[in-house]
Structure formats: structure tokens, C-alpha cells
């Protein structure tokens, strides 16, 4: 039985190994927080953590994720219990249409795990693979900076 761990829970993967991880997460597991913006690894809206590292889930074959740990935005927090990052995105206005937001949160989470007090340059480099068409990025950077100070 092919298994992987998603947001701390072991799941059985029934999809063929060459199915994209993004499709297994969204279609099999109904974790629709992860978005598909380009399908080419350019926009970052599909970003999840694979063994703690941000990756584009549109470029991971589920066969490559077997026996590994996947974290999606749903694993960071939820409406009842917002993570500090999620709360700061709300308070700082870091989301408008929200399409880039799950990927932004995942990348920002990975950054703060490694660098609890990043500089603005480090924040911008960490989210360089997450494109936003709405905010102009400044409020996203503000939100991450604020979360780092909490």
C-alpha cells in the first residue's frame, strides 16, 4: 500500500504514481487550499512543504511523495485556530483575491521555521517563487515581518 503523511496524518494513495501531487491533494483528499495557477512551477500558488521544504506540487509526481511528509496550508492553521502568519495576513491586508495566499503562507512558514527574524530582503527572496497579481507584495512582506515579531 502506497502511503504518505499529509498534515500529520498517514493517508493511502490510490492514484497512479505519475499523478501530480497537486491533483491528489485537491481531488482525492479534497484539500483545495492548494491552488493551481500555472501548472509549470512558475507562480507558486501550488506550494506545499515536502519533508519541510517548499516545492511546487504541480511538479511533484505522487509516486515521489510516497513515505514522505506533505504539509499543505490546511496544516498550518484554520479559521478556528489561525496560525500567527494567518492572523497577520488578515490584520496587515496581505490577501486580496486570495489565490496566492496559501502558497505565500506555506513559503513564509518555511522561512520562519529556519529564520525566526528575517530581514525584509530575506522575506522577499523566500517568497520570490510566489507571484501575486493583487497586492504589490508590500502588505505580504509586512504580514510576514509582523508574524516574525510575535
Amino acid at each position: 500500500m502506497a502511503k504518505m503523511t499529509v498534515n500529520g496524518q498517514e493517508v493511502t494513495v490510490s492514484a497512479p504514481p505519475m499523478t501530480r501531487l497537486i491533483d491528489v491533494l485537491r481531488e482525492q483528499m479534497l484539500l483545495t487550499g492548494t491552488k493551481e495557477g500555472c501548472g509549470e512551477g512558475e507562480c507558486g500558488s501550488c506550494t506545499v512543504l515536502l519533508d519541510g521544504e517548499p516545492v511546487n506540487s504541480c511538479l511533484v509526481l505522487v509516486g515521489q511523495a510516497i513515505d514522505r511528509q506533505v504539509t499543505t496550508v490546511e496544516g498550518l492553521g484554520n479559521a478556528e485556530r489561525l496560525s500567527p502568519l494567518q492572523a497577520c495576513f488578515i490584520s496587515e491586508g496581505g490577501a486580496q483575491c486570495g489565490i496566492c495566499t496559501p502558497g505565500m503562507l506555506v513559503s513564509a512558514h518555511a522561512l520562519l521555521e529556519r529564520k525566526p527574524h528575517p530581514t525584509d530582503d530575506e522575506i522577499r527572496e523566500a517568497i520570490a517563487g510566489n507571484l501575486c497579481r493583487c497586492t504589490g507584495y508590500q502588505r505580504i512582506v509586512n504580514a510576514i515581518r509582523k508574524a516574525a515579531s510575535v
Binding site: L50, E53, V55, N56, L59
Partner: protein, 268 residues
């Protein structure tokens, strides 16, 4: 499509030896999966290398650095042992973004052999060798002999890249890496340059100005004998117009990159 995941190098070589047509080999998949997304092909067999831990090792000895083919750009950035080869991390930081750096591998970049491949000019400048493995054993190919045409290498159908070797740079070596693209992240280069100079040794690599990574022999000779390297550059490259840039712009930028390196050498 058949998907297989060899669990050892022996299993990988056996599979390559017994395959009819050469299978597709993927590690991070950051080139192949995108190609499939844009233009699906009927590949029959896909070999996933992601279980081969021995390809993800990096080691240093007195001779130099051995980088396993499965080492990611992220590893090149984070592993302190690459510091004597500073262009490795400088280049890796400009590949895509974090998400791509976490998956893309050096072996994948070399095997794909795009003329725009980010690591190729750096490996050329550092005098790299490509380690190839198969059921028949291991062999080393000097980087300047590895490509024979557009995306064509000297690899036999049953061979896989197992590692890249870089000799230890000489003390006081001057290196310069520059990638020119549309933006600092998520950009394929319009022109990229890597230069290495130590004593009498000068090695150059340039991307996106020919069918494969270019070694610029006339430019190198000019830098050594004091004649005009920018004039010599015109004997080395004839860039083209394509989706990403124009011949005129590429030539203009390439000249500037060579001038910048010549200035760095004049300063030593």
C-alpha cells in the same frame, strides 16, 4: 506509461541496460514535467531517481568536490563545503526560486543540456568532469567534451550521470558569475557568464548564445595574450533571435560581461 523507481544504482543500471528505447530519467522533474504539461509526449517508461540516496551525496577531498547527480540547488546553497567554489551557490540562488531549488538537481540540469542551463557555464569555468555510470562501469568525461550539439550529449543509451567532479580552485582564483534575465527569480537567462582565472589558467562559459554552453576559445586566448577580448568574442558566438531575446541584445550584453571579467582580471 510505466513508472519505475529503482532502489539502488545497480538496479538503475540494470534497467537502463535492458530497456529498449532509453527511458526518461527524472529526479526533481522541474524540466520534464513542465515539458509534458506544455506538450505531452508518448514516453513509454519513466525512471524516477528520487529514491537513490547515494546520488544526493556531496563530498570533498584533496583533489576537489564530488557532487552527486541528485544534489539539489538548495543543497549547493546550504552546504558549507561548496564555499571554495563560490559560483555554485551564486548560480543556484538565481535558479527559479526556493520551490525549484528544492527539487532541481545538478545532474538533471547537465543531462537536459539546454543551452540556457544555469549550471553549465559555471561547471565549464570550474573545469568540471561528468561521471557516468552503467553496467559497464564508470567513466569521466571532461565537461568541454560532454555536449556534441543542441541538447545532445556523449552519454550512451544505458548510461546515467552519477556525479559531477570539480577540481579544487587554485589559491587566489578570480571568479565571476552573472546571469542576465527578465528578473532576478523565475527567469531563464538571456545571457549568462561564468569566468575563472588563476595564474595562467582562464576558463569561460557562456549560456544562451549558441546551441550549447559555449567555451569561448578565442575570447579566452585574447584574455591570456592581452589582445581585445570583445573583438575575439565575435569569433566565438553568433547569438540568435528567439522567444527570449534578440541577437543584437545578446551580443551587446555578452560584450559587457566579457568586459567586466577583463576588468576583474586587470585588477588582480
Amino acid at each position: 506509461m510505466i513508472f519505475s523507481q529503482p532502489q539502488s544504482l545497480t538496479a538503475l543500471f540494470d534497467e537502463l541496460a535492458s530497456a529498449g528505447d532509453r527511458p526518461v530519467l527524472i529526479a526533481g522533474g522541474t524540466d520534464w514535467i513542465v515539458e509534458q504539461h506544455l506538450k505531452p509526449t508518448a514516453a513509454q517508461r519513466v525512471l524516477d531517481l528520487s529514491r537513490l540516496a547515494e546520488l544526493r551525496t556531496l563530498s570533498v577531498d584533496g583533489e576537489g568536490l564530488r557532487i552527486g547527480a541528485g544534489v539539489t540547488y538548495r543543497q549547493l546553497i546550504e552546504d558549507e563545503r561548496t564555499r571554495p567554489w563560490p559560483m555554485l551557490a551564486e548560480m543556484a540562488k538565481l535558479v527559479g526560486a526556493w520551490q525549484i531549488q528544492a527539487r532541481g538537481t545538478l545532474g538533471g540540469n547537465v543531462a537536459t543540456g539546454s543551452p540556457a542551463g544555469d549550471s553549465l557555464p559555471v561547471l565549464m569555468a570550474y573545469g568540471a568532469q561528468v561521471e557516468l555510470g552503467s553496467v559497464r562501469g564508470t567513466r569521466l568525461v571532461p565537461f568541454e567534451a560532454f555536449y556534441v550539439g543542441y541538447r545532445r550529449t556523449v552519454m550512451a543509451a544505458d548510461e546515467a550521470i552519477t556525479a559531477i567532479w570539480l577540481p579544487t580552485p587554485a589559491a587566489g582564483a578570480v571568479t565571476q558569475y552573472r546571469k542576465v534575465g527578465t528578473r532576478r527569480a523565475q527567469a531563464i537567462s538571456k545571457v549568462a557568464f561564468a569566468g575563472y582565472a588563476a595564474g595562467e589558467t582562464i576558463r569561460l562559459g557562456m549560456a544562451s548564445v549558441g546551441p550549447t554552453v559555449m567555451t569561448l576559445p578565442h575570447t579566452t586566448a585574447a584574455l591570456k595574450n592581452g589582445s581585445d577580448p570583445v573583438a575575439a568574442l565575435h569569433e566565438d558566438i553568433t547569438p540568435l533571435d528567439d522567444v527570449r531575446s534578440t541577437a543584437t541584445y545578446r551580443m551587446f550584453v555578452a560584450e559587457n560581461l566579457v568586459r567586466a571579467f577583463a576588468d576583474a582580471l586587470a585588477g588582480r
